[in-house]
Each structure stands twice: as C-alpha cells, then as structure tokens.
C-alpha cells in the first residue's frame, strides 16, 4: 500500500507586485536587477507557502510567459515568429514557436540570460532537493503547438528530447522531471520518450481519457503517471505511482476536505504512491485562489 503525496507543477500565478514590476520593466522604468530581486523575494515566499508539498517543479516559473517560450528562446533553430495563438480551449494566448531545426541550447538555462523582449531568465532556479524541472512534453505539447518549417515532426521531437537531456544534465542536480502533456495522446508513438523514462524520474501528466496502448512496447516507464480520477486503475497497470487530478485549476470553487479524504481510501488500493495534484497548472486562477488550492493540497 502506498502513501498519499502531493505534487505542484507548472506556472504559478504572479503576485500583483511582481506583475507590476514586470510591467515597469517592459516600459523601461525599472532595470533587470530589480526584476531579479523581486523574483528572489517571490520565490522565498513561494517556498514558504508550499513547504509541505512533496514535489514542486522549479518554482514557480514566475518568469515564464507561457509554457513554450523559455525553451523556444533557448534553442537554436526555434524562434517566436509565429502568430499570437489561443492556447488550447482557454482565454490565454502564446506566441507560436517556429521550428526550422532543433539545434543546441543557445544559453545555459540556469544562467541569467536576457533574450529578446522576454523578462530575464534563468529558465530554472534549482533547489537543493524536492524539486523537479517542468518541461512541455515534446511529442504533442511542444511540437503540435508549434509551426514546423523544413523539419519533420519526428526530427523535431527527437531534437527536443536531446535538448531536454541537456537541460536535465546541466546544473539541475535533480533527476526529477515533470513532463506536461497539454493534448491527449491518440495513436502517438511514445517510444521517443523511452530514454527520458530510463534516465530520469519522470512524472508524466497526460490529458483526456487514459489509454495503456501508447505505453505498450516501451522498455521503460515513467515513475508517475498523472491522470483523471476515473483512470487511476488503468494507469496503475502501466506505472507504479499514480497521480490524480483532484483539484481544478480552471475553477475558483474550492475543493472540499471530504473529497481529499476519500483519496486516502483510493491510495490504499494501490501498490505505489498516490500523488494528489491539479488538472492543469495554476496560472489560470487568481493568485489568492491558487494559494488556497495549495493549502488544500498541503492539508492532505
């Protein structure tokens, strides 16, 4: 029987103060150092807030405008030349990456790079322990949400997997990786992810109705699969640890404590651990509500 654990992943909403600082930075009225200092303060607060969460992706990605941009800016052969595009079925938008090749990393993702009009990096800010990198999964999220020009989908995916290995193998100091899939797998071939599953402790967040098929024939499996509540049993046949999307990142209604308690019963039926998490990253919510959802997760 496993334990109930908690996972917080992806972009967390900016505080009002950070949002205003970014606005001033964009207008040129404050410098890069002030933005960095504000992020450092915000990060401290954030760690304090989620100190009881078991696994947190490099928090809190405050300097990510969207889930594709930092890696698009960091990779040779990818530009942000595409149109402003609606992100899935939401009211948020991203500048579509144009992929002509997938070369090498243009800069160290852990360094203070300044690129184009983007707020200052680093892309990741590692902690000593208990953290994971957050990466938009190559096959669907990155490639299907980008525009390819002169490169096949397969080559783009392979290239991105290499980039992800460079990211993870740099100064991260962690084996933990959260791969986020924004679109449901259909008949997509996941074998390209096999090396990542082999070398790292991957938590794979999938969308839609879960199917075991794409995982058949893989030599390695992710460490944890995050699925809807109704798919826990199927996911547990593929992966020892399962994550459940118990909190809604698209609604301000707060989940009741009873629902959270029921998850303990679910965990008792599993051989591995049960990670409680959200159905999307929390950037779709007002900051105050996102903080309350984190508190609910912490109370588990």
């Amino acid at each position: 029987m496993g334990q109930v654990r908690s996972l917080l992943y992806g972009i967390f909403p900016r505080s009002e103060q950070l949002r205003l600082t970014y606005g001033r930075w964009e207008r040129g009225s404050v410098g890069t150092d002030e933005v960095k200092e504000r992020i450092r303060e915000e990060k401290e607060k954030f760690y304090g807030m989620c100190r009881n969460i078991d696994l947190v992706t490099d928090p809190p990605l405050f300097n990510w405008h969207d889930i594709l941009r930092p890696l698009a800016l960091a990779t040779d052969g990818i530009t942000l030349g595409g149109p402003l595009t609606r992100y899935l079925e939401t009211n948020t938008f991203y500048r579509e990456p144009l992929v002509s090749k997938v070369g090498k990393l243009r800069f160290d993702p852990y360094s203070d790079a300044e690129v184009e009009e983007n707020p200052p990096m680093p892309i990741y800010m590692p902690r000593d322990s208990g953290w994971a990198t957050f990466l938009p999964s190559p096959p669907l999220t990155f490639v299907k949400l980008s525009r390819l020009h002169g490169i096949s989908e397969g080559d783009a995916v392979k290239g991105l997997v290499d980039i992800y290995r460079q990211v993870q193998g740099g100064k991260s100091g962690t084996k933990n990786m959260v791969l986020f899939e924004a679109l449901p797998y259909g008949k997509d071939d996941l074998t390209v992810l096999d090396p990542l599953f082999r070398d790292y402790k991957v938590t794979l967040v999938v969308q839609g109705r879960f199917s075991e098929k794409p995982f058949q024939g893989l030599h390695n499996r992710p460490d944890t699969l995050v699925v809807d509540l109704s798919d826990i049993e199927a996911a547990s046949r593929v992966c020892r640890n399962v994550g459940v999307k118990a909190l809604d990142a698209h609604n301000t209604r707060l989940e009741g404590k009873d629902a959270m308690r029921n998850l303990e019963d679910t965990a008792s039926t599993l051989s591995g651990d049960l990670y409680v998490t959200t159905n999307d990253y929390l950037d779709f919510l007002p900051r105050g509500i996102a903080e309350k959802k984190v508190a609910i997760m912490e109370a588990i």
Partner: protein
C-alpha cells in the same frame, strides 16, 4: 470589455487577476449565484455620443458566450444556461440603447457590434454560441448587428453557422495570421475568406465581412499602407463584392501605445481612402 459589464452584474464575485498573455491580465469574475443587471453598461456612453458631433456610431457590447467563457462558473448547472442568462441581460441592454437611439431622431440604422472573441474557442459549443447570440438579438429587427471574433483557430466552424445566426456581418482578425516579411505577399493568412465567400453564396441575405485584420494589434510594427491595401484588394477579389467588405483592425488597440495605435489606424484609413477613390 469583460470587467466593465461584469462589474455591473449582480451575482459575480471578483477574486483577482488572471493572465491573458505575457504580462497582460484581466479580472476574471466568478458567477456565484443567479445573475441580473445592476445598472446599464453603455447607456451613458451612447448618450454622450448622441449629444456629440459624432456622425456614425456603432456600439460595441461584449457577447454572451464570451462573458460566459471568461467567467468561472460556480453556480449554473451548465455552460449553456449561463450563456443564456448573460444573453438575457445583453438583450435588455441593447433594447434600452435602441430606445435611446430612436428617441434621438437619428435616421440611420443603429449599429451594434457584439464582441465575441471566445466564439470558436470550444468547437463543440457552437450551438451555445448560436442560441445565445440569437437570444441577444431577439425583438431588435431594426438594428444592424455585426459579430467580432478574433484569434480563432478555425473560422470555418463559425462560417458554417452563418445561416443560423441573426447577424448582418462579421468583423474578424486576420492580420495576426498573415506574415509581414518581404516576399510573403501571398496573403496566406486571409485564405479562409474563400470559405466565407462559399457559405455566403448559399444564403439569400448576404453578410458583410470586416477583414479584420488589416493591422495586427499585438505587434508595434506599423503595417505599411501598401500592404494593407493589398490585403483589402485580396478580400474584395475573394468576396467578389466591395460592398460586402469592411475594414477594421484585428481587435482593440489597447495593448499598444497611443502613438502606435494612432499610426496603425491612420495607415488603415489611408489605404481605404486610396482604394475607395479607385473603385468608386
């Protein structure tokens, strides 16, 4: 465009800002009980315009589907019910504006643009779009309605529903999807206007299309007059009737500086004037 009406509706709570893109945010409300209008949204604005020297007036109003999609729904049983509740309120607002218009003695037709940027966000919900838009326009046969949609992944799902919607024309975003680079004059971003023209052929009452889109509102680059003109000429060639082509920016210019916004509009107007002189 969202918060202005939402803050005048009872039943909506605001918990804070959410991101729209980059570092742009809006205050997204949560519907926590039955909604009802507390006060008018645009009556003061219309009264001001009627009292001014403005000759032609078109009143924009945020549409029911967008109001629903941009709200957190903590109360209504489903998204259709919430959209229809918004539609009821918007219909009431437009009726009051129309009464004011009639009392002003203006001779021209009252124009209302229903802003529905969210329209095609969820392709499976086009029935909700059609039902709620038609509820908004009920009992208002004397008004000219246009529908503004932007940042759609696929306008064809909107065009397919043209015959069912009580809408006279569409103001759309296209410039954003059309490359600006030299050598990209094929105007690929505008190609699905062909489908609009095909659907329009099938209806007896022809709809106009605002090719939106002669200026991209999310970049500071000011499109040259010549490029805008080429885009308009292309739209006219596809729609095959200049009377059915209108010209507008992709969306509101709020995200640009005043200087950039003004220059974009100026170039758009210059392009229209130059073409009009040639055509007429």
């Amino acid at each position: 465009m969202y918060e202005h009406p939402a803050s005048r509706i009872d039943g909506i709570e605001f918990y804070g800002l959410v991101r729209s893109f980059d570092n742009r945010y809006y205050r997204k409300g949560s519907v926590v009980r039955d909604i009802r209008r507390k006060e008018p949204f645009h009556i003061d604005e219309l009264r001001f315009l009627l009292d001014s020297a403005v000759e032609r007036i078109k009143m924009p109003i945020t549409g029911p589907y967008t109001m629903m999609d941009w709200s957190f729904n903590e109360h209504y049983s489903d998204r259709h019910s919430l959209a229809m509740a918004y539609a009821e309120i918007i219909n009431q607002e437009i009726k009051e504006m129309y009464e004011l218009w009639k009392r002003s003695g203006r001779k021209e037709r009252f124009e209302v643009q229903i802003d529905e940027p969210a329209t095609t966000t969820h392709p499976s919900e086009m029935d909700i779009v059609v039902d709620s838009i038609n509820r908004c326009t009920e009992g208002l046969s004397g008004v000219e309605f246009s529908l503004h949609v932007c940042y759609s992944k696929d306008y064809r799902i909107l065009y397919d529903r043209i015959p069912e919607m009580n809408i006279d024309g569409y103001n759309l975003e296209y410039a954003n999807r059309d490359p600006l680079a030299p050598g990209s004059e094929r105007l690929g971003g505008y190609s699905d206007l062909k489908y609009f023209a095909q659907v329009n052929e099938t209806v007896s009452k022809k709809r106009f299309v605002g090719i939106g889109g002669v200026t991209d509102v999310h970049i500071d680059t000011v499109e040259p007059v010549d490029l805008i003109r080429k885009r308009i000429e292309y739209a006219i060639s596809v729609v095959d009737d200049p009377r059915l082509v209108k010209v507008n920016p992709d969306c509101g210019l709020r995200t640009r500086s005043r200087e950039v916004g003004f220059q974009k509009l100026k170039n758009m107007v210059d392009a229209v004037r130059a073409l009009r002189e040639e055509i007429l």
